[in-house]
Subunit: 507 residues, 2 copies
């Protein structure tokens, strides 16, 4: 028995990864751990991909259903997609190889709200879960599992799968033990009860995952780092966006609409999110909390600064430098950080009750405030909706952030009509670009259009947007949401044909 | 004191409607009662419209913000819209005059989720609520208010408004007393607690609305019926849709995915909804419950049949014949029906916990399962989203129903791309037309398209949809959600230009 596997029944099942994957029958639905590149299995997926490649080289078909928490890493999604070993992938991915296969029509992908995954699997919406492959950071003397750097859907996979393969990763910090809060009180209706969280810090479960040793068909030992999340310092665009968001929050506090310690923060990942968090670190708010999906570098820094009392999430997504800081001081962080199953971190009931301040990135917004979070030019999936819908719909204030242009200025993030809708006009309170902020709360569609064009659009595209809107006001079928249907998607079409949304004269 | 006003302080404030409306200052935001044509004030709105018309005839501007529960009636929405007395209307309307003013650009309309209204008003998103005009069916000796045939946002209006005008309508059944459940436990974050409902029958509040007599500036006595909802017996199309829905429910029960008594029903109003409810009345399920917005004729019939144990809603929407039946037997119904504030009847927390079976009508769906519930040809508002989003997003199964064609066959309810999105692909489980049912749960966009085209489209439009999809598979930018952007909205454009979505050759 190594130090991390402290139970004999589990220790007796240790095998190498190639042996473990022989126990997964072709065609199986496999639930793997992993959320934003943290806590995914490190060796079994690669061994499985190798087995698929060998089968395919002999002309034998072999594919698997692959379900996770959210995004994983090249050695999981990338490896399996590369050999075309995935039949249906869900619920969120951000891997370039996987994305290419989906957009080539070689792989099915079901993009669903992250809070919906567990209940959908319980309902049997995706068929039977055959095998769970879950990374843990240790196994206790009495056979309980110490989760690793993400929780995601692991509780559900361990419960629903017939057979379980565990990876015990000794690279994960030993100090993770005690940080998790695994709630075993969920149920299918009509047996559901209130989720008893009224503050982000509330612990309602146990620090351990449970799994009968009988179900465990293999244990694989690993010592591998999580996917490195590169942290790049905020650029000027991100800082300007962050500045507008901070102005909004300060105005809300001054007007008495938000308490001085704000309400629980939810933040997506990436440069803009880190810039907002950095701004909050330098800002006037103390005693803040977060109820969110992911602890990224900026969130960790806010904890270090003492301004963030508690962060509840379902996963880490840290840079190597931040991981080092975390490991040095894990005991101190443990009182301030909780990792929960994603059905709880993203639960509409809890998000609504706590009144989260939701901040999420987007692909594009239209002049009426509809948001596309997922599709390039209406057809090509980028990543997925993730938890943005869970938070935006139920937030106290739902804020969407984006630079006003992309592709070196060829693409406007503000368009006449979005080419795909992930968040409807009913769920979007505030849109922010580096140009400015449009507070849409309470506004009719026409008033929203005026504000979005004036405040958020890039000056290079503002006149064309205003022109579209003005002409729509003249000749739209209805004037509630004025549109020229023959032209509404022409900016996207122009991009596909000419490589730019800019009018021909301006190219 | 009449029989309905049993408290002297309130009785002393009785005036006629024209006198009452003089107490509403021009430009005020006015919160009126009313939900699906039930429980709206009957005389004050008309008197206010008269005052507006007189002001306008003298060249004086006069407009009001008009906030309600949901739809009202010609004598409220219609009268005030007709004289252009409404500045901003929210959150749902179905009045032809109001609709025409909105679509002519003469009136602002903010269409929001019905569960969001109360918290938005508390947040101040629409400005200050100045005056509440609320119909009640009586006032008790100790000054509590007996609600009438809808609750809607009345609790919020009475709390938030500076001044209150009550209409006491003696036409409303005296037996309504005791039927309501007004919950006073809501709050703004961070002070929110779990909503303690675990079954539709749970009573968590009091049967009365509270309002300090000091705030009441006028009491108007009326004796006027609610708007009559015409009940037309289901036609063949509705019955076929209902048949498909019942088949689905029976399959779910047989496979063990639903209990024999089903889960709490939510149903929109109208012919198709009544046909489904009639089908349930003739079907194999006993001991059912409903957690919904509205008690319509079909719901009352289900209660009478003994098959529906409890119905929780926020309003009635009955035909005159059904109202007679209700009034004859109100005491018997009182144990089976609860009317709650719409923030509770539609609360995401409760809808998700109970696992409602949500059934809602639509304007159109696209081949990937996105739903347009509100806009004709992308720009003209029909009614509004109502509570469909509150239920669909959080339902155990979200079902959307529609005849496959409209306008005498000129318009297909299944289109390549919807012209407006109210429910995204992430929130739509099942689409049903008279042609058949598409169960989309767990499917990728391409698989959804195959099923929707094959099962739901009208045969007259099916080949053109299949042709669009096949060509999109050939030349779409991405193949996750294949689209031809130059053509995606061409069906709507053709309807605007030619009066039909049918291809020219087929017209």
């Amino acid at each position: 028995m190594t130090g991390r596997i402290r139970n004999q029944r589990f220790a007796a099942k240790v095998v190498e990864a190639p042996e473990a994957v022989e126990l997964i029958e072709p065609g199986a639905n496999v639930g793997m751990s992993g959320f934003t590149g943290a806590g995914y299995p490190k060796e079994v997926p690669g061994a499985l991909a190798k087995r698929v490649a060998e089968a395919h080289s002999r002309g034998l078909p072999m594919k698997f259903g692959l379900w996770t928490g959210a995004s994983t890493a090249p050695e999981l999604d990338g490896a399996l997609a590369d050999v075309e070993g995935i039949d249906l992938r869900l619920p969120y991915q951000s891997d370039p190889v996987t994305r290419a296969k989906i957009n080539s029509g070689l792989m099915d992908y079901t993009d669903i709200h992250l809070s919906h995954v567990a209940q959908r699997v319980w309902q049997g919406a995706f068929g039977k879960l055959d095998v769970a492959v879950v990374e843990v950071s240790g196994i206790t003397e009495d056979g309980r599992l110490v989760p690793s750097s993400s929780v995601g859907n692991n509780k559900t996979w361990l419960e629903q799968a017939d057979r379980v393969i565990l990876e015990v990763n000794s690279w994960q910090s030993e100090h993770l033990e005690g940080m998790h809060d695994i709630y075993y009180g969920t149920a299918l209706p009509p047996r559901r009860k209130p989720i008893p969280i009224t503050r982000p810090a509330d612990r309602i479960g146990t620090p351990y995952l449970e799994c009968p040793a009988d179900k465990v068909i293999a244990v694989v030992e690993t010592e591998s780092p999580d996917r490195n999340t590169v942290f790049t310092p905020p650029d000027e665009t991100s800082e300007r966006i962050a500045g507008h968001v901070l102005d909004l929050l300060e105005t809300e506090v001054r007007s008495g609409r938000l308490p001085r310690e704000l309400l629980p923060l939810q933040s997506g990942v990436g440069n803009v999110a880190n810039a907002v968090l950095a701004g909050l670190g330098a800002g006037p708010f103390d005693g803040m909390t977060a109820y969110t999906e992911v602890i990224q570098d900026g969130m960790l820094a806010l904890i270090e600064s003492g301004k963030l009392r508690t962060a509840s999430a379902t996963a880490f997504s840290l840079s190597p430098a931040a991981i080092d800081r975390f490991n040095r001081d894990a005991a101190a962080y443990r009182d301030r950080i909780l990792l929960r199953p994603q059905e709880i971190s993203n639960h509409p009931e809890v998000v609504r009750r706590l009144g989260c301040l939701a901040m999420n990135g987007i692909v594009e917004a239209d002049i009426y405030g509809n948001i596309n979070s997922t599709h390039l030019m209406g057809s090509r999936i980028q990543n997925g909706i993730g938890g943005s819908g869970d938070f935006a719909r139920n937030a106290h204030v739902s804020i969407f952030v984006t630079p006003s242009v992309a592709k070196g200025g060829a693409v406007s993030a503000i368009v006449p009509m979005v080419s795909h809708v992930d968040h409807t006009e009913h769920d979007v309170d505030v849109i922010v670009t580096e140009q400015g902020l449009a507070d849409l709360r309470g506004l009719s569609p026409r008033k929203r259009a005026e504000r979005i064009i004036a405040n958020c659009a890039h000056p290079d595209f503002r006149p064309a947007l205003q022109d579209y809107y003005d002409r729509a006001l003249q000749s739209s079928f209805g004037l509630h949401t004025p549109h020229l249907l023959g032209e509404a998607l022409s900016w996207h079409q122009r991009y596909l044909e000419e490589g730019s949304m800019r009018p021909a004269a301006a190219n």
